[in-house]
């Protein structure tokens, strides 16, 4: 065995040498620069011409010296050149000294349908709690035959499921009911992210407790500073609601509720209570603060829609964006207009793209995995004409048959004539509901290739 190994290893060495020698000879033959002297970082030939790319014509320092040892960064971090790819926040949304606040995800830099854990949008009502997993307990009580207390290890003992779902704050786009506010994709649409979650269906745990027949609602309560609570209908609990500890193959980040959060697929992000502490089953809903004072959608009638759970079908163009415009695209270049579509009410089945702000549409191409209550990528190829003006509007449809409304349809109601806008308060959502805005978004590409966020309205 030893001999064979030795032989093999020497063969490899010989091969390396000979291939090196060959390429060297080959190189000299071609260039004829027999006497070229290689300076420390300049690749021969030494006479570099103006049209030569410096990036090619010199040895970069990372190629001529030791890189980091594998012992560095035992938990990997992004390249230092990626430092601008971060969550961002604004004073407008910084109430509670940035504790009852939100930092939004850089979706203009997003690829595919997974948000890296460090970029996942972060929302809390009393700051990010840092829970000691050893002191973590989940209590489940109320209308059950047997209340229980579980440690984290005990929860992980149940059969687990892994699902890819987005979480979206229902206030995503909620500052723009009256007019666009952000020339930024990150802020206009970044109150959401998408991840692969691992945990247990609550219905699996309920087998151990014995739900009483009169239980109609579940209270989920966090252990954080705000003791964040929400009521959830039993239907969702017995369908796909999960308790999750895993996010994209690792433990939840503290910002996402480490060590355990509720995941309510497709529904308001606010329902996905973080730093979970207790579930209680009851006959009546609880009227927690975040389901009364907030997360209720005030309509023109003066009545507010409450328990408005699902994030409705939605979409946006991602490439180009205000942040990454087409100013460097050449005349005649083929560009891939790419975007995201999602629906908390089902699976995206179709995305249409308009170049004129929503008057005429073409059907775009859905790409990659198509999963329920999950981000879905779509794209459309376009040959760019320098100086052209475009109004890029995307519109998604889901398998429940819901299609995104225009701005006017959502505000004033479907089928209402322009002359009748605002006359019947029972039609449309008006502009005061804050939450659940899912009208189509439009991105203007101007003659310079710059991108602006606009809304196409008839009034």
């Amino acid at each position: 065995m030893d001999k064979v190994n030795t032989k093999k290893s020497s063969e490899v060495t010989n091969l390396e040498i000979s291939s090196k020698g060959l390429s060297r000879r080959d190189f000299f033959k071609k260039t004829g620069a027999v006497s070229a002297v290689a300076a420390a970082s300049v690749i021969a030939p030494t006479v570099v011409k103006a049209e030569d790319d410096h990036a090619i014509m010199h040895h970069p320092k990372w190629g001529q010296s030791w890189g980091d040892p594998v012992t560095k960064n035992k938990y990997g971090i992004p390249s230092k050149y990626e430092h601008n790819v971060t969550r961002r926040y604004t004073q407008l949304l910084a109430s509670g000294n940035a504790r009852a606040s939100i930092a939004v995800a850089p979706i203009h830099e997003s690829d595919g349908i997974i948000t890296p854990n460090g970029l996942f949008f972060s929302r809390s009502h009393g700051g990010t709690a840092h829970v000691d997993p050893n002191e973590f307990r989940l209590m489940i009580n109320g209308l059950v035959e047997k209340p229980i207390v579980l440690t984290l290890d005990q929860i992980k003992q149940y059969p687990r499921v892994t699902r890819t779902h987005f979480i979206e704050c229902p206030a995503n786009g909620g500052q723009e009911w009256r007019q666009p506010q952000y020339n930024s994709l990150q802020f206009a649409k970044g109150f959401m992210s998408c991840a692969e979650w691992t945990g247990v269906y609550i219905k699996t745990i309920l087998k151990d407790l014995g739900l009483k027949p009169e239980a109609l609602w579940m209270l989920a309560e966090g252990s954080d500073n705000s003791e964040m609570g929400r009521s959830l209908p039993i239907d969702k609990v017995l369908d796909d609601a999960m308790l999750v500890w895993g996010q994209n193959g690792e433990a939840l980040r503290p910002e996402q509720g480490y060590p355990l959060r509720l995941l309510v697929p497709g529904w308001e992000g606010n329902l996905c209570v973080k730093w979970l502490k207790r579930l209680e089953f009851g006959k009546e809903p609880w009227y927690a603060k975040e389901e009364t004072s907030k997360y209720t959608a005030l309509k023109p009638t003066g009545k507010a829609a409450q328990h408005f759970y699902a994030n409705e079908v939605n979409s946006t163009v991602v490439i180009p964006s205000c942040e990454k415009p087409w100013t460097n695209i050449k005349d005649g270049d083929w560009v891939e207009i790419e975007g995201l579509a999602w629906s908390g009410m089902g699976t995206v089945t179709r995305v249409d793209l308009s170049f004129d702000g929503g008057n005429n549409y073409v059907e775009a191409n859905i790409k990659g995995l198509v999963l329920p209550k999950c981000w879905t990528r779509w794209s459309y190829m376009h040959q760019y004409k320098k100086g052209e003006k475009l109004l890029l509007t995307s519109r998604a449809t889901d398998d429940a048959g819901f299609v995104q409304p225009t701005v006017d349809q959502e505000v004033f109601g479907y089928g209402v004539k322009k002359a009748d806008y605002g006359k019947d308060k029972n039609k449309g959502m008006g502009v005061e509901s804050v939450y659940h805005r899912n009208a189509v978004e439009t991105w203007e590409v101007n003659e310079k290739g710059e991108v602006n966020h606009v809304q196409i309205r008839t009034v």
Partner: protein
């Protein structure tokens, strides 16, 4: 422990509704089939477990069997025996919620004027005089609740600069238990769960007072005392301002019915066979643009792939900017008259009588007079001391 019968009884009420919708729309179970899927309570698609699969996902068939909400089956095959029963004391410690029927509200009492004193010491620095709000913190009052409630029909849909609705406790919130529960468990924001039940009653009483509200027909005055019995009789002006009606045994059915109708929430569901509009859908030249808008992004927007600006290495930090920390974390009280400002020798004099060590200790640990521990900041003890020293430099 679990019994299938329980599900049957539990969801019996839902069967009727679900069966009804099946009959009306001729719906069959279908994954990715347009206009064809079963609905869940939110109006969305329900993906049952069928043949070892839910939607596109496979499931372990040792654990799950076919599920169908219409037949009251959650699809869970077997139970386990994890965890333990909580002790009575443990339940008492954690099971402290209060619902909209005031179930769970403990005994206790408090006067409006007691609440006012507490408010001024512990709440005003964020929520403003008389709950007026400001600085991004929510307003708690906007005048007499009943009058303010009328603003809820204000809608700026035709006139963007008109007066909008005012959603404060008195004008908007449907029940008062929410306020009591939230004050006790989540307030004051910088040191929650430190108020007694009586203090919580007093603060809630003060909320009723500044909102000009009535209890059992009586207008709340500074000498009003709120106790559990009176709490039950608080009249919330907007009690019926929310749809659908979620209360009582029909609550879930009401939710299901409400969200089965897209007109109720500004949505449109294509009819079977209907295509979305593709040509001449909306002809208009009206492009609404960002006018000023919001641009104070932190960090500032950039997509450059460059090296980050050189920062001081935190591990070798030689100087800490106490003034900047003061401005970021302290000025909301210490520069607004609530507490003495940096360098205000006269203002600090009464505190300094107790000696520097006491002032520092109070700062580090917080006081029940409204000073949050370390000002609610995340500074280290040493950094915090530098801020205190900065503030006490006369």
């Amino acid at each position: 422990m679990f019994k299938l019968e329980q599900y049957k009884i539990l969801t019996a009420s839902l069967v009727t509704v679900a069966a009804l919708s099946v009959a009306q729309a001729d719906e069959t179970v279908a994954y990715n089939g347009l206009w064809n899927a079963k609905k869940d309570i939110s109006g969305g698609v329900y993906y049952p477990i069928k043949d070892g699969q839910t939607g596109p996902y496979k499931v372990n068939s040792q654990v799950y069997k076919d599920s169908d909400a219409v037949n009251n089956e959650s699809g869970v095959k077997v139970g386990y025996n994890n965890g333990r029963i909580p002790t009575d004391n443990e339940l008492k410690a954690w099971d402290k919620d209060i619902n909209g029927l005031n179930e769970g509200l403990p005994e206790g009492s408090g006067y409006v004027d007691e609440g006012e004193a507490l408010y001024e010491a512990q709440c005003m620095m964020c929520h403003g005089d008389f709950g007026s709000g400001g600085g991004g913190y929510p307003a708690l009052s906007a005048g007499k609740a009943k009058e303010i409630k009328r603003t809820l029909t204000n809608n700026r849909w035709l006139n963007p600069t008109a007066e909008g609705p005012s959603r404060v406790f008195g004008s908007y919130w449907p029940v008062a238990s929410t306020m009591w529960w939230y004050i006790r468990d989540a307030m004051p924001h910088t040191k929650s769960k430190t108020l007694t039940d009586d203090e919580t009653y007093a603060l809630t009483a003060y909320m009723l007072y500044i909102n000009g509200m009535k209890v059992d027909g009586e207008l709340v005055t500074p000498s009003f005392k709120l106790d559990r019995e009176k709490f039950m009789k608080i009249e919330m002006p907007n009690r019926n301002g929310f749809v659908p009606d979620i209360d009582g045994p029909n609550g879930l059915e009401n939710v299901r019915t409400y969200y089965a109708n897209p007109d109720n929430y500004g949505a449109y569901r294509l009819k079977k066979g209907e295509e979305p509009c593709m040509k001449n859908c909306q002809q208009t030249d009206n492009i609404a643009r960002v006018d000023g808008g919001i641009t104070d992004f932190e960090p500032p927007m950039s997509v450059a792939r460059d090296l980050p600006p050189k920062k001081e290495d935190a591990a070798h930090k030689v100087s800490f900017d106490a003034k900047a920390a003061y401005e970021a974390s302290c000025t909301m009280c210490h520069a607004t008259g609530v507490a003495p400002a940096a360098g205000d020798k006269t203002g600090w004099a009464p505190f300094m009588e107790k000696a520097y060590e006491k002032v520092l200790k109070n700062g580090l640990e917080g006081t029940n007079m409204g000073m949050p521990a370390k000002g609610g900041s995340s500074l280290s003890d040493d950094e915090f001391k530098q801020v205190v020293d900065y503030m006490l430099k006369f």
